[in-house]
C-alpha cells in the first residue's frame, strides 16, 4: 500500500477503464488501475493456431462458466429468457472477444422517452457526446466511410472501409434491388497500418483473437499508451470492495492479489469500470452502515434495468461459393433502413442488419450436420455457400431484468458470483420477429436458395448494459450526466452499466466515448479531488 493516495483509482482495465486511465494520465493525473484478470498472451489467441475453433470452445470460450479463468466469477442465468453471458476478465476486458462493430448511436437514441414514449431519455445529447466519439475513434483507428445518410454528418477521419468480399457484394446487390439504404460497416479495425499496429489481412472470425493486432482491442490501443504515460496497472487484483470514509466519500478499494493476499489502495477519485455485471456486483459487495443496500444505491437501481439488445443471426445459402473464410467478422455492409421508430410498425424503436461471412467448418457441423452417412453431404452443401447477417435491435429497459449476487456460486476467493434475470419484453419480441423477417427478405433478394435463422433464444449476452444507469433524478438513476454517482461525490461509474438505453447497435463505441467524456469531466473538476484527503 502506498502512503500517498493516487489521484485516480480505476477499477477494471477493459473497454472503458483503459480510456479513463489513459486520458487522465495524459492530463498529468497519477492513475492506478486494478484489473482482476491478466494480460492475454497473444500466442495463446485461438486464431494463432490452426485448431482455433476448438480453442474457442475451451479456454477462450466467451462464457465464463465454461472458460473458468482464475479471474472469472460464476454467472447463473434465470428468467423467461435466460442470458448466455459472454464476458472476459482480462486487460482489454470484453473487447478482447469482440468483433469490432463500431457504431455511433443515433441522436434519437438519446431521447427514447421524449420521442417514442417508452424507456428513458439520456441526460445528455448526441451533440454533447459527439466530440468524444471523434476523440475515441482516433485512438482506436476506425475503418469506415463518412457520409452515411442514416447518421448525422461527421468528420471524415476514418480509415478506409474493410473489403466486403463476395458476401458483401451479394448483400449490396440485394439492397440495391430492394431500394434500401446500406453503408460499409464501421469497424474498430486498422485497415491500413495505424499507430504501430499492422493492417488487417482479412483473417475473419475476429472474436477468436487478432494475433496481428489490427482489431482495436484496448490491450493494443489504449493500454500501451497509458502505460507509457505512467499509469500503474496492477493485474490479477480482484477488488473485494470499495471503501468509503467517514464523510461518505470513496477513498479507495480493498483487493486480493493472485496469492490471496489482501491489500488496500487509496485515491482521491474512484472510477468503476467493471462492466454490466461486474460493476453492480462490486457496488452490492461494498455495502456498509451508510450504504446498507450497496454503495451508491440509494435509488435502488443498482443491478436493475439490465439490457442485452434483441439479437439474432439469419443465414442464407447460395448456390455459388461465397469465400466466406476471409474478410472481417464485424461486418461487410449494414443497413439502418429500419433503425428509427416507424408508426406503421407494431413496435417502437428499430434495428440494424449487418452482413458477415460464412460459418467455419466446426461451427457449421455443430449447428446442422447430422452424424452418419449423410454428414459429409450436408456439410458440403452449406460450407462455403452461406452468408450470415447479424441482427441487433433496441431493448427497452425494464426493472424486472436485473442482476443479484449469487452466494451459492463463488469465485476463487469466495466472493459471490452473479445471477441474471431476464425476460424479453413484448416490444422486443415484436421488434425481433420483424427483424428476422426482414433479414430473410434481404437474403432472398440476394439470391439465397434457403434461409435459416437463430430465432430470439438463447439471449446472447455480449452487450450487458444499464445496471447502474445515468440520469438527472437521483431517485431513478445511479449516476448523473457526468457519470458521477449521485450518492458518493468522488465515485464515478463509466462503463456499459451507466447507459440508460442501449440503442440498436453494438455499444462499445458509445461506451468508450462516454468514458472519454467522463475522464474530461474528472479532470475539469480536479480542484474537488482534494476533498478526499
Amino acid at each position: 500500500m502506498s502512503a500517498e493516495p493516487a489521484d485516480v483509482l480505476v477499477v477494471g482495465a477493459g473497454g472503458a477503464g483503459a480510456v479513463i486511465a489513459k486520458r487522465l494520465a495524459e492530463h498529468g493525473a497519477k492513475v492506478v488501475c486494478l484489473e482482476q484478470g491478466d494480460w492475454v498472451d497473444r500466442q495463446t489467441l485461438p486464431k494463432a493456431h490452426l485448431d482455433w475453433e476448438v480453442r474457442g470452445r475451451r479456454y477462450w470460450a466467451a462464457n465464463p462458466n465454461v472458460r473458468r479463468w482464475p479471474s472469472d466469477y460464476p454467472v447463473a442465468s434465470f428468467g423467461d429468457n435466460p442470458i448466455d453471458v459472454y464476458i472476459y476478465n482480462a486487460v482489454g476486458g470484453s473487447t478482447i472477444g469482440f468483433a469490432g462493430n463500431y457504431w455511433r448511436f443515433a441522436p434519437s437514441d438519446f431521447r427514447m422517452r421524449s420521442l417514442d414514449g417508452v424507456g428513458v431519455d439520456w441526460p445528455l445529447t448526441y451533440e454533447e457526446l459527439e466530440p468524444f466519439y471523434d476523440v475515441n475513434e482516433r485512438e482506436i483507428g476506425v475503418a469506415g466511410l463518412a457520409g452515411d445518410p442514416c447518421g448525422p454528418p461527421r468528420r471524415p477521419t476514418l480509415l478506409p472501409p474493410a473489403p466486403v468480399g463476395r458476401p458483401g457484394r451479394l448483400l449490396i446487390d440485394a439492397y440495391e434491388r430492394l431500394g434500401w439504404y446500406w453503408w460499409p460497416t464501421e469497424q474498430a479495425i486498422a485497415t491500413v497500418p495505424y499507430e504501430g499496429r499492422s493492417a488487417c489481412d482479412h483473417r475473419s472470425y475476429c472474436p477468436f483473437g487478432c494475433p496481428q493486432g489490427s482489431l482495436g482491442t484496448t490491450d493494443v490501443t489504449y493500454w500501451p499508451k497509458g502505460l507509457k504515460l505512467g499509469v500503474r496497472l496492477i493485474t490479477n487484483a480482484r477488488v473485494r470492495s470499495l471503501t468509503v470514509d467517514s464523510h461518505g466519500r470513496a477513498q479507495g478499494a480493498v483487493y486480493h492479489d493472485s496469492e490471496g493476499g489482501i491489500h488496500e489502495i487509496k485515491a482521491r477519485v474512484v472510477v468503476l469500470c467493471g462492466g454490466g455485471l461486474g460493476t453492480p456486483r462490486l457496488l452490492m459487495l461494498s455495502d456498509s452502515s451508510g450504504h446498507p443496500h450497496g454503495l451508491a444505491n440509494r435509488s435502488g437501481k443498482v443491478g436493475k434495468n439490465l439490457m442485452v439488445h434483441v439479437q439474432s443471426f439469419a443465414v442464407g445459402r447460395f448456390e455459388e461459393p461465397v469465400e466466406g473464410w476471409h474478410g472481417t467478422w464485424g461486418g461487410t455492409v449494414s443497413t439502418r433502413q429500419f433503425y428509427e421508430t416507424d408508426p406503421s410498425r407494431d413496435y417502437m424503436r428499430g434495428f440494424i442488419m449487418s452482413g458477415v461471412g460464412g460459418y467455419s467448418p466446426l461451427n457449421l457441423a455443430l449447428q446442422l450436420a447430422p452424424w452418419g452417412l449423410d454428414h459429409h453431404d450436408v456439410l458440403d452443401r452449406y460450407l462455403n455457400h452461406e452468408v450470415c447477417m447479424y441482427l441487433c435491435g433496441d431493448d427497452i429497459p425494464e426493472e424486472i431484468n436485473r442482476i443479484e449476487l449469487d452466494w451459492e456460486h463463488t469465485d476463487a476467493v469466495g466472493m459471490p458470483g452473479v445471477k441474471t434475470f431476464y425476460r424479453l419484453g413484448e416490444n422486443s419480441q415484436r421488434l425481433g420477429a420483424d427483424m428476422i423477417q426482414r433479414a430473410h427478405q434481404v437474403l432472398e433478394a440476394a439470391g439465397a436458395t434457403s434461409v435459416r435463422d437463430f430465432g430470439l433464444s438463447p439471449i446472447w449476452g455480449w452487450h450487458l448494459m444499464g445496471t447502474a444507469r445515468m440520469g438527472d433524478d437521483p431517485a431513478t438513476s445511479v449516476v448523473d450526466r457526468h457519470n458521477q454517482a449521485h450518492d458518493v461525490p468522488n465515485l464515478y461509474i463509466a462503463d456499459s452499466s451507466s447507459l440508460p438505453t442501449g440503442g440498436g447497435v453494438n455499444p462499445t463505441s458509445t461506451i468508450q466515448a462516454l468514458a472519454a467524456r467522463c475522464a474530461q469531466h474528472i479532470w475539469d473538476v480536479r480542484r474537488d479531488w482534494r476533498g478526499a484527503d
Binding site: 476448438v54 466511410l145 447518421g151
Partner: protein
C-alpha cells in the same frame, strides 16, 4: 460467435440443469488437447478403445477423399480430453458399456467387431435413450477432432474450396468500391432530428 445447437444450456450452471444430464462443456474449459497430435489411449483399455473407435467412425464415416473420424484420431482425442477433464470419465465409460449391451442385443457380437451398419443401429438406439449427455459429448468432441485436423481441412479445400488456412495466415482482398454507393448517396437523410 460459437453458436452450436445447445447453446442455451450453457446459461445454466450444471447442478441446475437437472435430469442427470451432464453438459461436458462445463468441464473442458481447462482441457487443452491439441488436435492432430499422435497419442495413445490413457483412460480406455484396448477393448473399450476399440469400441470408441467404432463409435466415432459411425459419427463421421469415411467418404471418397475424406477420412473417417477414427482415422484422424478422434477416439484418442476424446480419451485425452476425458483424461484432462476427469469428471467426464465415468460418463464415457458408462456409455461404452451401454453401447456394448445394445450391440449384443442387436447382433450378438461385440460392438467393436460389428460392421458399420450394425454399429450405426446401436449408436442410433443409444442416442435415443441417452439421458447422461454422453452422446452429445462424444459427437461434439468427434467433430472437434475432425474439423481441426490438418488432413480434413486440406480435404475441404480440395473438395469444396474452403480455405481453412487463410483464417490463420491472412489473404488478399479487393478494396471497397465506393462507386457502389452512388444511389444511396443520392437519398435523403434517414435519421430523426432531435429538438
Amino acid at each position: 460467435m460459437a453458436y452450436d445447437r445447445r447453446q442455451t444450456d450453457v446459461a445454466i450452471p450444471q447442478e441446475q440443469g437437472g435430469g442427470g444430464y451432464r453438459d461436458y462443456r462445463f468441464e473442458v474449459g481447462h482441457a487443452e488437447v491439441p488436435v492432430g497430435v499422435p497419442r495413445t489411449f490413457k483412460v480406455l483399455d484396448p477393448e473399450t478403445a476399440a469400441s470408441l473407435r467404432g463409435w466415432v467412425e459411425c459419427l463421421v464415416p469415411a467418404r471418397r477423399g475424406r477420412p473417417s473420424a477414427a482415422e484422424v484420431g478422434a477416439a484418442e482425442y476424446i480419451d485425452a480430453t476425458v483424461y484432462s477433464a476427469s469428471g467426464l470419465r465415468e460418463t464415457l465409460l458408462r456409455a461404452l458399456d451401454t453401447l456394448q449391451g445394445l450391440a449384443g442385443d442387436a447382433g450378438g457380437g461385440g460392438f467393436a467387431s460389428a460392421d458399420l451398419a450394425e454399429r450405426t443401429r446401436a449408436v442410433r438406439a443409444f442416442e435415443l435413450e441417452d439421458r447422461s449427455g454422453a452422446f452429445d459429448m462424444v459427437r461434439d468432441l468427434t467433430y472437434e477432432a475432425y474439423y481441426a485436423h490438418p488432413v480434413v481441412l486440406a480435404a475441404l479445400q480440395s473438395d469444396i474450396g474452403w480455405d481453412a488456412v487463410a483464417p490463420t495466415t491472412g489473404s488478399g482482398m479487393e478494396g471497397f468500391d465506393e462507386s457502389l454507393l452512388r444511389r444511396v448517396k443520392s437519398l435523403p437523410t434517414r435519421y430523426r432530428e432531435v429538438p
